[in-house]
């Protein structure tokens, strides 16, 4: 042994012959596994995934796949390298024994670990009435199977599609339907599409975009029930305003739920808002104490971010899954002094009605918005979000080349309104206006970023102070 001491020695042993288990074999799980092997991890690597498929990419499911430009079972993720793993696919993890360092599986097996990475992501929120949700023709869109089923239903030429929820996924589905020449109705409880993610000012632009493209957009309404025909096929939906829409395909697009139930009772700080971890991706237990050997990454993680007041962020963003997986994998194989914080600036893209939408930062934190370039009317613009005199986020519609600039500004905690002026600043871009986000206590359909407080666990605890 060299002078590096016992701690380092045990790390070398871990790298040589340790056991690493990854639960959740999708984007974050795969990228983490690749990074571990790249960092010289030579021990046993077990990848546990409840879906029967090897890791695949989800964003094309609501875009290329629904447009018929790609096949759902052709979205398997490319590999950066061989990871030489023991794949346990089609089997869910059902429990975690933190003391015994063991993951229990749905088939009765158990797998022991020295380091565990949890990347179980989220799932689509189902229609609240299970019987109605089980009608033929009712879909959610999260998995490859969902994508394939929905694409087939659209190809069959339904008379009308109803999309419930106008978040990013719902809007992309509506857009694909219109491109296929299908009649589509979108029902949204909020005042406009995308309001939860981008606020009312941008939501109004999205609403216009939907209507101009022939979407029958209904806002400020809720779908109260779905009605089937005698054969068990959906045929109509009833709305809170008393109206009825006939549709033979209904897509429930009400956002996502975090896959943490399998951890209940384990003692890990996991709940409906995700799994709390420190900035280095190490999970907290329910007492708020950081674990030594359990790491989290991707959609299921909830981690504090220095740029955003150390608030806990849960991000349903592709780029976050990739970046956080890389950081988690690095830290899992590093001594504490070499660990890195996950300080990725949130970034997201979407593509709908032929318009490229991108954002950086945390728009829902913004209270004000300023159109810094272009114009809303032309649907080609950049807008900056301000929070307490700081630039906190930006969004572009068909103006993505500017986004890296805003990202730098956000990282540099630049002031808001931005002091720089651009050649094309229009009158509407000279004065900030309220960003107009809905009341955060009212859940919206898929904000894709959730900000939460400091509590590592979402369950109630009785605080009995010592004396």
């Amino acid at each position: 042994m060299t002078s590096t001491g016992t701690h380092d020695g045990s790390l070398e042993q871990l790298k040589r012959e340790g056991r690493i288990v990854v639960v959740g074999a999708s984007l974050a799980g795969l990228r983490a596994a690749e990074t571990m092997r790249e960092k010289g991890f030579a021990g046993s690597l077990t990848m546990i995934g409840d879906e029967p498929y090897e890791p695949y990419d989800r964003p094309p499911l609501s875009k290329q796949v629904l447009l018929g430009n790609a096949v759902a079972d052709h979205t398997a993720l490319p590999r950066r390298r061989a990871i030489d793993a023991d794949w346990r696919l089609g089997v869910p993890a059902t429990g975690l024994d933190m003391a015994a360092r063991r993951v229990e599986l749905g088939n009765g097996d158990a797998v022991e670990y020295d380091r565990l990475l949890i990347a179980t992501g989220v799932r689509a929120r189902p229609w609240p009435n299970a019987e109605e949700g089980a009608l033929k023709g009712v879909f959610v869109l999260r998995t490859r199977d969902d994508g394939e089923g929905l694409q087939r239903a659209l190809a069959a030429g339904p008379r009308r599609v109803l999309v419930i929820g106008a978040g990013f996924t719902g809007s992309e589905i509506a857009s694909a339907c219109r491109e296929r020449g299908l009649d589509v109705t979108v029902a949204e409880r909020g005042d406009a599409p995308l309001v939860g993610a981008l606020g009312g000012v941008i939501g109004a632009v999205a609403a216009e975009m939907n209507r101009e493209n022939g979407v029958d957009l209904r806002t400020g309404v809720m779908v109260t029930s779905l009605e089937g025909d005698p054969s068990g096929r959906v045929r109509a939906a009833h709305f809170s305003d008393g109206s009825t829409v006939e549709a033979d395909v209904v897509v429930v697009s009400l956002g996502a739920q975090r896959n943490t139930e399998w951890l209940s009772g384990s003692g890990l700080g996991a709940g409906p808002r995700g799994i709390a971890c420190d900035a280095g991706c190490r999970a907290f237990d329910v007492r708020g104490i950081v674990t030594d050997d359990i790491y989290v990454a991707g959609d299921v993680a909830r981690s504090p971010h220095a740029l955003f007041g150390y608030q806990f962020l849960s991000l349903e963003h592709w780029g976050n899954a990739v970046a956080q997986a890389d950081t988690a994998a690095h830290n899992m194989l590093s001594v504490s002094a070499d660990r890195r914080p996950h300080l990725w600036v949130p970034a997201f893209w979407s593509s709908q009605f032929g318009v490229n939408i991108k954002s950086v930062g945390v728009p829902p934190m913004g209270t004000e918005i300023l159109i810094t370039q272009g114009s809303l009317a032309e649907r080609r613009f950049a807008a900056a979000y301000g929070y307490q005199g700081r630039l906190i986020a930006a969004v572009t519609f068909d103006n993505c080349r500017w986004l890296p600039f805003y990202e730098q500004q956000i990282e540099a905690t630049a002031p808001f309104p931005p002091p720089f002026s651009t050649v094309d600043r229009r009158p509407e871009g000279t004065k900030p206006m309220p960003a107009d986000f809905p009341d955060p206590s009212v859940p919206t359909h898929g904000p894709t970023i959730t900000l939460s407080g400091y509590s590592p666990a979402d369950r109630k605890m009785t605080f009995t102070p010592g004396r």
């Binding site: 290329q64 430009n69 390298r81 061989a82 030489d84 592709w318 593509s351 993505c400």
Partner: protein, 87 residues
Amino acid sequence: MRLVVDLNRCQGYAQCAFLAPDVFAMHGDESLLYNPEADPAQREDVMRAVAACPVQAILLEITDEDMANMVAPDAVAGAGSPSGGAR
């Protein structure tokens, strides 16, 4: 032949759509659509697109052959391990 484009990074320069039009296509002014499992016959074109992308946003899977030629992970760990001892 699997590929994925990091669309956070992609700036819509359309180089890829120009070099491998059967795999990449612009949708509107700056949205990129691509076929994540391109026909192997497109390999040359796709490689050219990967090389030409100004922001290196395209990740193309290494092939089985590439993988077989890669250094085994235990060899990597052994080489980098200062603790020596067991090989």
